[in-house]
Point group: C2
Chain length 250, copies 2
């Protein structure tokens, strides 16, 4: 515990009670089970989602790579691994955004015996939602992306034969992340879910593993969770083990 430095915790002016409540909302399009089932048509434009936030992650129309939204700007990391900017008019089948107003700031490294994710978890309420920004230098980081799909084959099949992984060493950049409580299983991913973009905004992806060299973690608790359920929504069927494998790139 003493190996991380708690820089500022619960900054008074950033407390929930004093922030406009709509900024405390984590808003998502569709559900993870629907995406898992192969519903890849983009239904909601990023421009509409920006009403709900400036920070988050997801994918793009037809599962075309990994989406990172940071400071109100969006990047796609397609299966080529070469990041590109995403226009506000593009649509997503699944994404989650919030207005990022962190209350808690930590510096973590890899010298304590406590895993980086556990160090973050120690500063969260595990039964509520949070957005997490991890910025700095990573000694190693592995990401993946997925190829655009023309058909609706389920996500586990896409991961099994289509994902590409990318290994970064001694890299500077930012992870955008969400923490979701276990009770939203089927709707979003329980636990942590991180996407990464390099400091030069050229590469990144869905994070499979990460080891910090020296990073600053900013945590924004969210007291409200919102789902946009598009016309023609197909819920899919839950499979928690398949989801866990997909998230870990297996």
């Amino acid at each position: 515990m003493r190996r991380f430095i708690l820089l500022a915790c619960l900054v008074a002016l950033a407390g929930c009670a004093t922030k406009p409540r709509e900024r405390e909302t984590l808003a998502q399009v569709s559900t993870i089970d629907s995406l898992m089932a192969g519903n890849y048509d983009g239904t909601v434009r990023l421009s509409r989602l920006y009403n709900y936030g400036d920070f988050g992650l997801g994918t793009l129309d037809r599962l075309d790579g990994e989406l990172i939204v940071l400071d109100g700007q969006a990047w796609q990391v397609p299966v080529s691994g070469e990041a590109r900017r995403v226009a506000p008019a593009e649509r997503t089948p699944f994404a989650a955004l919030t207005h990022f107003d962190p209350e808690t700031i930590l510096v973590i490294d890899n010298t304590s015996g406590i895993s980086p994710e556990q160090q973050v978890l120690n500063h969260l309420d595990p039964d509520r939602f949070a957005a997490i920004r991890v910025h700095g230098r990573f000694s190693s980081l592995r990401t993946r992306s997925v190829p655009r799909q023309e058909t609706n084959r389920p996500l586990p099949a896409v991961i099994a034969d289509g994902q590409k992984t990318f290994d970064f060493t001694d890299v500077e950049g930012t992870m955008v992340g969400l923490y979701c409580p276990a009770y939203v299983k089927g709707l979003n991913v329980p636990g942590f879910h991180f996407h990464f973009i390099t400091a030069d905004r050229t590469a990144g992806g869905h994070v499979l593993s990460w080891t910090p060299s020296s990073v600053v973690v900013a945590i924004d608790d969210a007291s409200t969770f919102t789902m946009l359920i598009p016309d023609g929504f197909a819920p899919g069927a839950g499979d928690d083990k398949a989801l866990e494998a997909v998230e870990k790139g297996k």
Copy 2:
């Protein structure tokens, strides 16, 4: 099918695309699993919930009876069965509200071979959310209410030894209802959930069964689902069979 009269369906000006999106949100406090586990402290004032809607249902602080919100006014049916008005400053541990802007109006009776709930279901997208108002004369209707709880014993135990049921025959009044899709199990009640208030606003409760004589059904689809997760939220553990028994008063 021909036995019900479809009065008006998809009134053009009430279509989703032309309504402010925030009116298309079903917003709730806490989750049904948390309530089931005995978390009865009121956390959110009705006055705050009225930002999210003028129509809905729930319970009050310490599980003190059944809450009905209709046309922006709230009633409680306590275990005495005698309805009373609820002040905006009162708090709820679990309630769900929406701005009621119905798109679909039906008249149903009990002369077709199709159950009233199935007649309503035929006009819903089962994978999305809806609010349902059923107004008119009921040949019979059974409700229940529950006593205020000083301790946090789980809801199934309260129902088993504390609920009071009320039988109405040839009664005029309004049911306020919600329809939730199966994938929000644990968060809200899948399927239909109705509360009732008599036309003279003296009685009502959580509906256990209903037989329409002649009623008008108004349906308001909701494209967005929002959960307010209060500070200190305790999620409880899911038990679908226990929930079904509670909803049916068993």
